[in-house]
Structure formats: C-alpha cells, structure tokens
C-alpha cells in the first residue's frame, strides 16, 4: 500500500436493503423499468407501428442499467479524486433504488391526463410541471428538460447527495451542490438539445 492509498478515508454508507431484499429490489426495479419503457414505446408505436415494443424495452432497460452504473461510477471517481472513498456497489444500489422515484413520477404524470385541475396541480407539485402538459400535444424543449422537476425529483437529488455524504463522511452541502449541479447540467442539455433538434417542428 502506498502512502497515497493510506490517506484515503472511507465513510459509513450501508446497503439500502439487507440480505434477500437486495436481489428482490433489483428484480423489482428491472421489471418496473422494463414495464415503464415498454409502455412509453407502445405509446410511440401508435405513430410508428413498425416499432417492436418488447425489443426496444429490453434495449431501454439495458441503457437504463448502464446509466445507473455510470452515474454511480462518476460520483465515485469524483470523490476518489478528492481523496475519499465512496463504496461503489453500495452507492450504486442507492442510485438504483432511488430511480423508483422516477417510476412513480412517470405513473403520476400519466395519471394526471384527464384528471381534475386540482389533482393535476397536486401531481405537478409531486412529479413536475410535465403533468400539466397533455402528452398528445407538442412538448416544448423546456418541458422535456425540466418537466419532471417536483418533490419526487428533488427528493431523489437530496437522497443521492445524502448517500454520498454518508459514504465519504462529509457534510451534506458539498455532495448536494455536486449532485444538484450534475442534475441541472443534464437537464439543460436535454432541454437545449430537444429545442435544437426540433426547431419549429412539433415533437411527436
């Protein structure tokens, strides 16, 4: 062990679930995400019947898993570069578990369609202003980027930061700034890219 390695500190992040709960969590997440992606592809298939919803859902699930592994990896590398060790697999498990808030958000935004105004506003507070936009209309780029910003997404960001703070043994402020900045950057990229891609054309 080098002198540099001996300086690396570790924190106290526990697994979100113990024992048999972990495989069950991953199985539930995989099934839920597969179902969610399949529903979204099936909705698109109304305009493109040649799409194979099942195959695309499997590919989407694979991409989702890669995204989760990458997200956890980037945070782990970031903290490692700052001299502290974030336990990768435990943190990755938290990131995966917290993605359930996104699943709830999708379901709520779908449920908002056709709901009374008061219910839609409540859902918008939870799942973001995307709940106020009917899915049949063109989605503005801003809504594509920030339409999920509600209590659920904020909770996910804060909990992701909390898991890092626990893992690296530092106060919440630094990890929260890092996580919120990363979230904002990805959302801005989504917003601006969607606008640039569609111009004045409506998004299907």
């Amino acid at each position: 062990m080098t002198a540099e390695h001996s300086q690396v500190r570790t924190g106290g992040l526990s697994w979100p679930f113990a024992g048999a709960g972990l495989p069950l969590l991953y199985l539930w997440l995989a099934w839920s995400w597969w179902f969610e992606i399949r529903s979204q592809v099936a909705a698109l298939a109304v305009s493109a019947p040649t799409l194979d919803a099942g195959m695309l859902a499997v590919m989407g699930l694979g991409a989702r898993m890669l995204a989760t592994l990458s997200e956890a990896g980037i945070y782990t590398l970031w903290w490692r570069s700052r001299g502290v060790r974030l336990p990768y697999w435990r943190f990755q498990c938290w990131v995966a578990a917290l993605s359930a808030t996104d699943l709830v958000g999708y379901s709520l935004r779908r449920a908002a369609e056709g709901a009374p105004d008061a219910a839609r506003w409540m859902i918008a507070a939870l799942a973001g202003p995307g709940a106020l936009e009917p899915s049949s209309s063109g989605v503005p780029g801003g809504m594509a980027g920030l339409g999920s910003l509600g209590i659920l997404t904020s909770t996910r960001v804060v909990m992701t930061a909390w898991a890092q703070a626990r893992g690296v043994g530092r106060p919440l402020a630094g990890p929260l700034f890092l996580t919120a900045s990363a979230w904002l950057v990805t959302r801005l990229i989504g917003w601006w890219s969607a606008d640039l891609m569609k111009g004045l054309s409506p998004v299907p």
Partner: protein, 178 residues
C-alpha cells in the same frame, strides 16, 4: 495516482461546463432567430409529380416533409397515404422533399405513394421556416396560408377542421409571411 485522477476529473468537469455553455449559446442564438411563417406557393417549390385527379378538398393541402434517404419517413408517408383515403373531405396530401440538394431522380419518386410530389430546391422548410423533423404535416388553406403543423402520430386523431390556434407547433410571434 490521486493527483492525476484529480487533474483528469477537473479537466472533464471543465470541458463539460464549457461544452454546455457553448450548447447554451447555440440554443440562444437559434431561439433569437426570426423565422418566416410558412406559406405554400407553387413558385417556391418545383413540382416533380402532379397530384392524382381524384384529389379534391378545396385546395387545402397537407404537406408532409420527407427525405428520400430516410426509410422511416417513407414508411410513415405510405401509412398516412393508406389512411388518407378514409378521411372525410379528401384534402390533398402532398409530399415535399426536403434536405435534398440534388433534384430527386425517377427512382426516388417510384418509392413514394401516388400523390403530388414537390421538391424544396432552396430548402425553405429548414432554412427559412425553421422546421427540422421529417414526417411532420403542415396544413395550408386554399390560398396557401399556413394553418398548423401536426406530427404524423396525430393523423389518426384528425377529425374535421381545426382552428390554427390548435397547432402543436410553437407560435411564430408577429412574423410576417413570405
């Protein structure tokens, strides 16, 4: 090792922020640009194949922007063409070939359904109107005035006439016609 990792992560974070700032500047510039309101004029485009004589509908045109090199656009056009004959009013369905600098040849035209085909020689659709998604349908009234834009997925939900304000395309604020 930690030092080199820190330099690498700092560099990656800096490069990401610079790239996002550049993307934001590009987006702001694109949003600030003034686009022309679409207008259908026979002089603006080149007719490659006339419409079939069965088309009626008082001169109303639904113009689908397609690129012959885009197989999914062609599939979408064939699908819409198949459904079009079941629509009331029999408004004209027109294919507008865009993003194609060279005049489309007969082989390209044979891959299209039997509808009127026009070529956007100057690429007005993209350069002046600011539209970018193939497969969208632009509706023009009998005098060539723009009515609305819909995506191909909305065609099955098309009923009778709708007001221009129902368009799903972003509004063109106070910009005159061509």
């Amino acid at each position: 090792m930690r030092r080199s990792l820190r330099v690498t992560m700092d560099f990656a974070a800096g490069a990401t922020l610079i790239a996002v700032a550049l993307l934001g500047a590009w987006w702001a510039s694109d949003r600030a640009r003034s686009w022309e309101r679409p207008r259908w004029s026979s002089a603006s485009f080149e007719l490659l194949r006339p419409r079939p004589p069965i088309d009626t509908g008082g001169g109303v045109r639904w113009v689908m922007a397609i690129n012959p090199r885009c197989p999914s656009c062609l599939r979408s056009l064939w699908r819409i063409h198949a459904a079009w004959s079941r629509r009331p009013g029999r408004e004209g369905l027109v294919a507008l070939i865009v993003d194609t600098p060279a005049r489309p040849d007969a082989r390209s035209l044979r891959r299209l359904p039997p509808i009127a085909v026009w070529w956007d020689r100057e690429n007005r659709w993209r350069r002046r109107w600011g539209h970018r998604l193939y497969g969208e349908l632009l509706q023009f009234d009998g005098s060539g005035q723009y009515v609305r834009t819909i995506s191909a997925g909305e065609v099955p939900r098309l009923g009778g006439s709708r007001a221009p304000e129902d368009s799903t395309a972003p509004a063109l604020e106070g910009r005159g016609g061509t």
